[in-house]
């Protein structure tokens, strides 16, 4: 295998592994804030009990998240040095801001959250929880901003770097001016400039509008989508563990209260996610039509374009194995994609007339002609599939994500209905038990959805690393050889596998151990008792 595919596998693997943990800690962080608010407001020991137990779970997800996250920051430099040189001016800032404004906030106050129970007062402790939660959300903000810029680049120009000598003469960057003094200038290139691989050493993206970069066309949509995904992951972790306790008839009061709060959080997030998904998809339709065509497996441009529910998409290849088209067979709803893309839900028939471009017309001839000025229409048709993402995979990951999203809405709404109807906690009923067992395993659904969504977004952008500007294959490190990436990939694989099992084992032990039902009374430090006058509400034993 070559450096490109190995580096891509390594990046995908390390980020997919990392992406398991922050989503938990972002969601759980919000849950902790809510629980602590309840505790401060009602002073009921059960909320304090909950805050302590869920903080321990939070600490575990946070630790693995930090350990695996440090890799991501440096992988741009190690494996994608050419990319880093090319975009550093734009892409480096969100990463640096993340470090300065998010990581420090999280990790500083994390100490108080985890170890500060008997060192600070309850309000300071709550403030620390709030800051950790805020910090982890900021972290998501800046990472998604950086990634969104790669999806829909904005706020920059391409510029050529030149050496300028005192007499105003321009020299190429590689010119040897010996001991002569010179300054380096960036000369903006024309808007229609096409990046050539051999020019990458002295052409780069230069920021012109910081907020234009931050608020690029896809930032807000994608950020909302990712954050809601995190809330779902956190909520369903709590739902899962609480349902387990209910089934085991352990810590019942604790589990009921946790489950109720998490269900409200999960229902809210899953319904908001429906709205966010629609908005995100419409953004993709506007900004990355190839990705939209790929995730729906749409071959021909058409009005009344159908929305696929599930099915199979495969490549159509010629005798030499070159991709010539796609075969698609799926269960679909006619016209719905057009309606969704148009966003005109009031006038369905008119909305259905909206044309959605298919892969056979994407990327457009004009775009391809900027790369291959002399190509004939037949040649363009042959080149076109090189600019498609891996349609069969993207189609499946996208539909997996949608299916998970629907399942989450169903489960959380049904959970709320059962709760209000008074059935949810009736563990003697057989079908309540069945439903609770489904909830126990539901923790995997948001995780699968998040991972599938991430793969859809990232693979759907291929072959570009910066959409329609820089190809992934052009962004590699020139100094790194395949065997180096292979050995580090094996290293990551071994360490992460070990880490994953240790995480599961420790999480399982913590869940089995459960909350210490008396900790809110006995462990409550003297200092707290002085500051917060505890009204002894109904305790667990009563």
């Amino acid at each position: 295998m070559d450096v490109e595919i190995l580096s891509r596998i390594q990046f995908a693997f390390t980020i997919a592994f990392h992406y398991i943990y922050p989503v938990f800690s972002i969601g759980l962080g919000l849950f902790l804030v809510i629980v602590q608010l309840f505790w401060l407001k009602t002073r009921r020991p059960i909320y304090h009990n909950m805050a302590r137990f869920w903080t321990r779970i939070f600490g575990l997800t946070f630790a693995v998240g930090v350990a695996s996250g440090i890799v991501m920051e440096f992988e741009f430099g190690t494996n994608w040095a050419t990319y880093s040189r090319f975009v550093g001016d734009v892409f480096g800032s969100p990463l640096a801001i993340e470090g300065l404004y998010a990581f420090f906030l999280e990790s500083g106050f994390l100490a108080v959250l985890l170890f500060g129970w008997d060192k600070v007062g309850p309000y300071t402790h709550f403030f620390a929880t709030l800051m950790v939660c805020l910090g982890s959300h900021f972290s998501a903000v800046w990472i998604v901003v950086a990634n969104s810029w790669m999806q829909t680049p904005a706020g920059f120009v391409l510029a050529e770097k030149v050496k300028v000598t005192a007499d105003g003469m321009h020299h190429p960057m590689t010119a040897d001016l010996a001991a002569g003094t010179f300054s380096i200038q960036e000369i903006p290139l024309p808007a229609d400039y096409v990046v050539q691989a051999d020019q990458l050493d002295n052409v780069r993206a230069v920021i012109t509008d910081f907020w234009g970069m931050v608020l690029n066309p896809s930032s807000i949509d994608r950020l909302t989508h990712v954050i809601l995904g995190c809330w779902l992951a956190g909520a369903f972790l709590v739902i899962s563990i609480s349902a387990y306790y209910l089934l085991r008839r352990r810590h019942t009061e604790f589990a009921k209260t946790s489950l109720k709060i998490a269900l409200v959080m999960g229902t809210t997030a899953s319904l908001l996610q429906l709205w966010s998904a629609d908005s995100t998809a419409r953004g993709v339709a506007d900004n990355q039509p190839i990705k939209l065509a790929a995730i729906e497996g749409l071959a021909e441009s058409q009005t009344e374009a159908p929305l696929g529910l599930f099915g199979v998409v495969s490549w159509e290849k010629d005798a030499e194995g070159n991709i010539t088209g796609i075969n698609e067979s799926s269960v679909k709803i006619k016209g719905l994609l057009s309606i969704l893309v148009s966003g005109e839900f009031m006038d369905m028939t008119k909305a259905a007339e909206t044309e959605v471009k298919g892969l056979y017309e994407l990327p457009s001839d004009e775009f391809l002609l900027t790369r291959y000025p002399d190509a004939t229409p037949e040649e363009l048709a042959k080149i076109r599939p090189e600019y498609w993402p891996n349609v069969p995979v993207v189609f499946q990951t996208y539909h997996l994500m949608i299916a998970c999203g629907m399942a989450l809405i169903g489960l959380s709404v049904l959970g709320c209905v059962l709760w209000k109807a008074g059935y949810l906690f009736n563990v003697d009923k057989k079908w309540t038990r069945a439903f609770l067992w489904i909830l126990v395993f539901s923790v995997f659904i948001p995780q699968i959805a998040n991972q599938a969504g991430w793969f859809t977004a990232e693979m759907g952008r291929q072959p570009w690393v910066v959409y329609e500007i820089l190809k992934t294959s052009e962004g590699l490190s020139k100094a790194v050889k395949a065997h180096q990436v292979l050995s580090s990939l094996i290293g990551f694989f071994l360490i992460y596998t070990l880490l994953f099992f240790v995480f599961l084992y420790t999480l399982n032990r913590k869940v089995k151990h459960g909350p210490r039902d008396d900790e809110s009374i006995k462990v409550l430090p003297e200092k707290w008792q002085k500051i917060v006058k505890i009204e002894h509400g109904p305790t667990l034993d009563e």
């Binding site: 001016d89 500060g116 910081f210 580090s488 360490i495």
Partner: protein
């Protein structure tokens, strides 16, 4: 002073912050296996427990700042030192997990495995950071596009390896002093005996390293002729501050000796900065291909925006980091929440 120089200083401040703070964490890790009793090992872990995570953020933010302000340097260093950085990442991951998981289970095998991971991860991380610094001082082969054209084994020359050893010695001394500050009783007595080894070892390494640099790095020798006064003052200050460490320990003023150790690190970094400025990665054998703060930087616009962002962010970070250290001041106590 131009923006490029300001950013050179800012990145330097972040990395110095990392060395001072995570330096003692790594040092504690390196000393970990020398204490034998389980309870003592837990004391060591919990001495850094609330702060090690925040300390590591200095490295992450330093890396981010390097990416934003000097993308060429970031790209060249990280792709050039690929294998070394991967090893560094592995050891940092292992170390973080060892701290988190060690005390979760009482089993002896479980604990000794993580103890090993913590110690080896810490020593290896400190060593690799030193080797990387050594290579930057010594120079690495770059082509005219600033791409690294050497190989991994070429990075392991005696000078760089020796700086790796020096760094381990420095962090062990630093961690030792930090631990004396955070412990009491028999454990503290033991740690006090150790400084009789860790301090002299570091001072010896420090002196050898300085002499070696003067004789073996011609480009630094030429800088010495250019900035003799500055370098001279900083060097003398560094020697005085380092010599002050055993003095303060002897008088029982551990916090002051810890501060001296921090100041020693700061001065060492300043010495390093003064000897390379304005270069960031020196190209050896062809100095014309060196990366400096001008040909390796971001555009003026980015440097400017990031400057304002840092100007607002850094004081806030320093404020609440100090608050966290204040909250966790005093001797370590093992409690419910401890590792």
């Amino acid at each position: 002073m131009d923006l490029n120089t300001i950013w050179f200083i800012l990145v330097g401040v972040l990395l110095t912050g990392y060395a001072m703070l995570d330096g003692f964490d790594l040092g504690v890790g390196a000393l970990h296996l020398f204490v034998k009793k389980d309870e003592d090992r837990r004391m060591l872990l919990n001495a850094i427990g609330p702060v090690w995570d925040g300390n590591e953020v200095w490295l992450v933010t330093g890396g981010g700042a390097l990416f934003a302000a000097f993308p060429e340097v970031y790209a060249t260093a990280f792709s050039g030192f690929y294998d070394a950085f991967m090893l560094l990442l592995f050891s940092l991951i292992f170390r973080a997990c060892a701290i988190e998981f060690r005390s979760k289970e009482p089993g002896r095998l479980w604990r000794s495995c993580w103890d090993g991971g913590f110690a080896v991860g810490s020593i290896l991380a400190a060593f690799l950071i030193g080797v990387a610094m050594g290579n930057v001082t010594w120079g690495i082969p770059l082509d005219e596009n600033h791409e690294f054209v050497g190989n991994f084994l070429g990075l392991l020359h005696p000078y760089a390896l020796f700086l790796g050893v020096t760094t381990v010695a420095l962090f062990m001394m630093h961690g030792n002093i930090y631990l004396i500050m955070k412990t009491e009783g028999a454990l503290q007595e033991k740690l006090k005996r150790w400084v009789k080894i860790t301090i002299p070892v570091y001072i010896t390494c420090f002196l050898i390293f300085n002499v070696w640099t003067i004789f073996a790095c011609p480009h630094i020798e030429s800088v010495m002729h250019k900035r003799p006064v500055e370098l001279g003052i900083v060097f003398v200050l560094a020697v005085l501050v380092v010599a002050n460490i055993p003095r303060e320990v002897h008088k029982g003023r551990y916090f002051l000796s810890f501060l001296s150790s921090c100041a020693g690190m700061g001065l060492l970094m300043l010495l390093f900065a003064l000897s390379v400025y304005p270069n960031m990665i020196f190209s050896n054998p062809n100095p014309a291909n060196s990366l400096n703060i001008y040909n390796g930087s971001s555009s003026e616009g980015t440097l400017q925006i990031m400057f304002w962002i840092a100007l607002i962010g850094v004081p806030i970070v320093i404020t609440y980091t100090s608050c966290v250290y204040y909250i966790f001041r005093g001797k370590v106590k093992l409690t419910e929440e401890s590792y």
